[in-house]
Symmetry: C2
Subunit: 267 residues, 2 copies
DNA sequence: CGGGACGTTGACGGTCGTCAAAATTAGTGG
DNA sequence: CCACTAATTTTGACGACCGTCAACGTCCCG
């Protein structure tokens, strides 16, 4: 009933281990040498500015100091840790979550390949949330000092950094709208549409997805309890809008989901 | 029972109309000439980086192209409008709100003197929310191109811009926590504490404030209906935590408010 | 002084949270 | 590879919190 995920049209960089173009592109970490280059990364169009000259592209490779693998369940950074890097996700799936003093916590976002995390750390030079890998992941480590340095010289990089931060602000505005004014069905419908749209931009199916997070994590993100998430899924299934088998979801009626998010007057 | 607001220790720039230091600092707008200068603005410490050299300070004055007055109830910018400027609030009070297609809207924040608005417009070169003045206001108009230009040259300005954007991201994380996991009392308590803390940083009282927004706007921000906001205020009054007379609020027991936001185990 | 915007309060109902139990799956170690 | 335990998910019953609807009161401004 559920096929495996379609292959993304932008595959993980197949030349990641190929010989570098210069010593500066080869960095030694933990006794293993990893070739690092944005210039031939297929995620570039997602996480780097377009329209760079060859020489600019060459210099942008320098923002990535190294790569880092994160095992499922472990953290990329934690609340309180010193901020030094932004991270571009190469593969895998993350959640970010904040915690209040009395232990409540709230998932503030789910991030996938091509997206950048760590922006929260800039204000106070320390992170204010946890970033947890929901599946084995690999990220590009980008020292923020170098990003600032280079973006002083490469205008399109500067603009790009600003856009990434602004995009995050706008995204959070949308989440606030969701949390502040939507009911459970609307929240879950919006969540599914958003996920599938982002996956589609990465070459995956428009109608099928595998949830990398638990019902509880979805609930935390949407301001609902896990039971409500589960019940709402069940209602969607009853209504023939989706098929759900554990974490595999197939969207049968995208229009219906859109109508739930944005109730139309009349029919 | 309620005195008028205390005077802020950082007063509106008393030299705003004083003779400028050069022609470039004098800009003509709408047949009136307004002296524009961050260097002698008393809000500087709130909205500009610290530790600038005199020459840098002089150049930062150039970021502000002009000033603009906004009447209570009118908008500084609207969803869909082309993005060209960021705005630093000199006086007055704003709300920003986003709207969904079907007409629901959500207040995403309240902004006061020294804070910067317009960051949402950077991603798509057009604004994604409305900024509405809740009282007569004046803002510094800062063309974003010039900000980017100057921040390529002045490192501390670049860092400052990044911090402002990151701060907004962190703020919104906090709002998501509030909307996602707090009950009405907790939300309102957190809201009051946040407002009074920001006002205090501007030289106002720690315990007294005048709400510039309606119950409905508070409710929209907090994900509650106006009746719930009103009822929750009444409960706080019954419990002797605050005094409320219309939009004048006096906090009688700050600790109680903190305990509501952050329930302690035990006593 | 009068109309409109804003705020308060009450009664009632719906949505979602809480508690509980059972089913299914995933992960672990033998 | 299988058994066993933990984790996750589903479903039900019930109740609390907050939304809805309504009426009334208050303040502000023309």
């Amino acid at each position: 009933m559920f096929q495996p995920d379609e292959k993304p049209s932008v595959n993980p960089d197949p030349h990641a281990i190929a010989p570098g173009r210069g010593a500066s592109k080869v960095v030694s970490i933990n006794a293993q040498t990893i070739k690092v280059a944005c210039s031939n990364c297929n995620l570039r169009e997602l996480c780097m500015p377009l329209g760079l000259s060859a020489s600019e592209l060459d210099r942008i490779d320098d923002v990535v100091a190294s790569r880092r693998k994160i095992k499922r369940g472990s953290t990329l950074f934690r609340n309180g840790e010193k901020f030094t890097n932004l991270y571009a996700i190469r593969t895998g799936f993350f959640k970010t979550c904040v915690a209040s003093e009395d232990g409540r916590d709230q998932v503030t976002g789910f991030q996938m390949a091509g997206e950048v995390i760590g922006l929260d750390g800039i204000v106070n030079d320390s992170h204010t949330c946890d970033a947890v890998a929901l599946e084995d992941a690999e990220v590009c480590v980008m020292p923020f000092d170098r990003i600032e340095e280079l973006s002083r010289e490469i205008i399109s990089l500067q603009r790009h950094v600003h856009k990434i931060m602004s995009r995050e602000i706008v995204r959070e505005n949308g989440v606030m709208l969701l949390l502040g004014s939507m009911r459970a069905e609307e929240r879950l419908a919006a969540f599914l549409l958003n996920l599938v749209q982002r996956l589609h931009a990465r070459g995956f199916s428009q109608s099928e997805l595998v949830l990398r997070m638990t019902r509880e994590e979805i609930g935390s993100y949407l301001g609902l309890k896990l039971e409500t998430v589960s019940r709402t899924f069940s209602r969607f299934v009853e209504d023939g809008i989706v098929e759900v088998k554990q974490r595999h979801v197939r969207i049968l009626n995208t229009e219906a989901l859109r109508d739930i998010v944005n109730p139309r007057i009349g029919s």
